[in-house]
């Protein structure tokens, strides 16, 4: 099946810093999403972005489908950005429609 790799596994930032999280995938995809899991376990959908670029406030995401990677940018980070960021994909060659998740990037933002 499709493999999803995220990097870095852990990231520690000072408030106000910028960061880039990466997601590599091993097959062509028709669905790619980024999620944020807060310290209480709630998963929030950040972006649906199988290709192209999207922005939402301080967050933006870019997926280069032909090169099989996606990037999540966090600018001017805040302590509330802390948590785990997951990338999840559905491959064109995958049976079914369920998202396959990477292992996540754990972000800690300190004041």
């Amino acid at each position: 099946g499709i493999q999803v790799e995220q990097s870095p596994p852990d990231l520690i930032l000072q408030e106000g810093a910028n960061s880039t999280l990466r997601c590599n995938f091993s097959d062509s995809v028709n669905n790619l999403q980024w999620f944020h899991q807060n310290p209480w376990g709630q998963l929030i959908n950040l972006f649906y972005i199988p290709s192209g670029t999207k922005q939402n406030g301080r967050l933006s995401a870019t997926t280069v489908a032909t090169e099989r990677y996606s990037l999540l940018y966090i600018s001017s980070s805040q302590t509330t950005d802390s948590g785990v960021y997951f990338c999840a994909v559905v491959s064109w060659n995958q049976a079914g429609t369920a998202l396959i998740f990477g292992k996540g990037t754990t972000l800690s933002v300190s004041s």
Partner: protein, 113 residues
Amino acid sequence: SQTIHQWPATLVQPVGSPLSLECTVEGTSNPNLYWYRQAAGRGLQLLFYSVGIGQISSEVPQNLSASRPQDRQFILSSKKLLLSDSGFYLCAWSITGINEKLFFGSGTQLSVL
């Protein structure tokens, strides 16, 4: 607007006891429904998904089963829990279409002792 309800929030069960976790979605029809499990400090593992009533696909052979008795109801069950069933269980839904975003419930923390 659509909402997803998952309960209970936490559950402590002895080994060998049965399990029933319930998830319901409101505000939409014919959703795709999913059960994921997250072990401590790890990513999300897909357990089951359903594209319609009575249609269940299992991704991982295990001690668990799922059922969809109604369009917007998804149930995760076990007849006899194992220690290895401990984890954070998440229900999720999506709608087949151009923008198949996935939305999660608040999760159930299951501890099997």
